[in-house]
């Protein structure tokens, strides 16, 4: 099951040229771009691990592309996303965030039913991959 989080996630995976063009757009708007990775795909897992510092004052996407390449080399089967942060006063939040790398096999999520008092049911999801300890997921 393809993970659909962030912008463009319902589209086919972006090519490197497309990623570069998106980053150029971010830099053109003066946003600071950063790279993050995780192997916990739960939708509420908002804070992924930072790969290096956010990059401020870049002129060209080449720097970010190099960082993405490096991150892919270090974590080939993790989820990797690119964030663009807008530091404008009053905005100070992410403007764009999209996935640039995903594991080859994405087993998806299980629906978990928890019985509460008086036949109440609580529903939650759990990623199949999360059964394995961190760092040992998405090996296959």
């Amino acid at each position: 099951m393809k993970l659909t989080q962030g912008t463009f996630s319902f589209l086919p995976d972006l090519s490197d040229a497309q990623i570069r063009a998106q980053i150029e757009y971010c830099l053109g708007n003066g946003w600071a771009v950063s790279v993050e990775y995780t192997d916990d795909p739960h939708p509420r897992n908002t804070y992924w691990e930072m790969f290096g510092m956010p990059m401020f004052d870049l002129g060209d996407a080449a720097g970010v592309m190099a960082e993405i390449r490096e991150c892919r080399g270090a974590f080939p089967s993790h989820y990797i996303k690119v964030n663009a942060f807008d530091a404008t006063r009053g905005r100070e939040s992410l403007r764009l965030s999209f996935i640039v790398n995903r594991p080859r096999n994405e087993p998806g999520f299980a629906l978990v039913r928890e019985e509460g008092a008086g036949r109440r049911l609580r529903y939650t999801t759990r990623a199949y991959a999360a059964d394995e300890p961190e760092g040992a997921r998405y090996r296959g």
Partner: protein, 306 residues
């Protein structure tokens, strides 16, 4: 195939006109005085890049030439100015994508503790990508007297990026001739990765005078005839004195002349001022320089001393 050669001859001229390279080279010629070896090399690089681009259009092998450069020369010979122009020129030739210049020194690249240098150097390199990284006084990166100096680490990262991401940025090292020579001797890897070693000659007296005229023009000042003569004398004298820094010395001298001119105008503020008076620098303002005082002194008692 014969068609290709015909279109190619036609294209080069069109390409030259379309790329605005001619304009960039002309402004370089017009605005920078002297520096003939530098201008020749810049023209050669421009020609090479245009030809490479043309070769690519007709399907010939066109390796991306390495354009890392080192600028050596005495203080004030225009290394930084040319680097700035170079960024714009390479941009108009389509060699770098953005054409901005990031000027750094040792402090911006080398960290203060273990593990600090690599991220710092990488950050600056990333900022410079798509443009030109200008490392002023590059020889400070390498401190042979301290073998644990982090400068070596910065040099290694620099070399790696200069080699692997040649199409992403151009690195220009600058510094005084003899020290750069020593720097390259102790870092042969750096020397061999730099294709263009450009030496900036000192300016002649006439060139310095022309530079002064251009500086004043830009600031909308002008010299009276007597002041022009005084400035010529000043340049000849200043050259013989210590800490002579070519165009930079001249700029400082002009700045001080402007101060004195302002003072003169201020003290005579009772009289009405014309626009012309606001623009004109008189001979006294240049002759008041310490250079003349120092120069006349050794002429008389210097003989007694020796």
């Amino acid at each position: 195939m014969p068609d290709d050669s015909v279109t190619a001859t036609l294209d080069l001229d069109a390409l030259y006109r379309d790329s605005h390279v001619g304009e960039a080279l002309e402004t370089l010629d017009r605005e920078l005085v002297g520096l003939e070896p530098v201008k020749t090399r810049v023209r050669e690089i421009a020609a090479l890049l245009l030809v490479e681009r043309l070769r690519r259009t007709v399907g010939l092998e066109a390796g991306v030439p390495s354009l890392h450069m080192s600028f050596t020369g005495n203080p004030g010979t225009g290394k930084t100015t040319v680097a700035l122009r170079m960024a714009a020129l390479l941009h108009s030739l389509g060699y770098v994508r953005k054409g901005h210049l990031v000027a750094v020194t040792r402090d911006d690249l080398v960290g203060q503790y273990i593990g600090h240098t690599a991220p710092k150097t990488r950050e600056m390199l990333k900022k410079a990508m798509g443009g030109v990284l200008f490392i002023d006084e590059a020889y400070y990166l390498y401190r042979p007297e301290n073998e644990r100096d982090y400068g070596q680490e910065a040099i290694e990262i620099l070399l790696q990026v200069m080699e692997n991401q040649r199409d992403d940025l151009v690195v220009i090292l600058a510094g005084y001739g003899d020290r750069m020579e020593r720097f390259f001797q102790s870092n042969p890897g750096m020397s061999s990765r730099i294709a263009h070693h450009i030496d900036f000659p000192d300016y002649s007296d006439d060139e310095l005078f022309a530079i002064a005229t251009k500086m004043l023009e830009r600031l909308q000042y002008r010299l009276s005839d007597a002041a022009a003569d005084a400035l010529r004398a000043y340049i000849a004298l200043r050259r013989t004195q210590p800490h002579f820094a070519n165009a930079r010395s001249i700029r400082n001298a002009l700045d001080r002349a402007r101060l004195r001119q302002a003072k003169r105008l201020f003290e005579g503020r009772a009289a009405a001022l014309s626009r012309d008076a606001l623009m004109t620098i008189e001979a006294d303002e240049i002759l008041a320089s310490r250079v003349f005082a120092d120069a006349t002194m050794p002429a008389v008692p210097g003989a007694a001393r020796s």
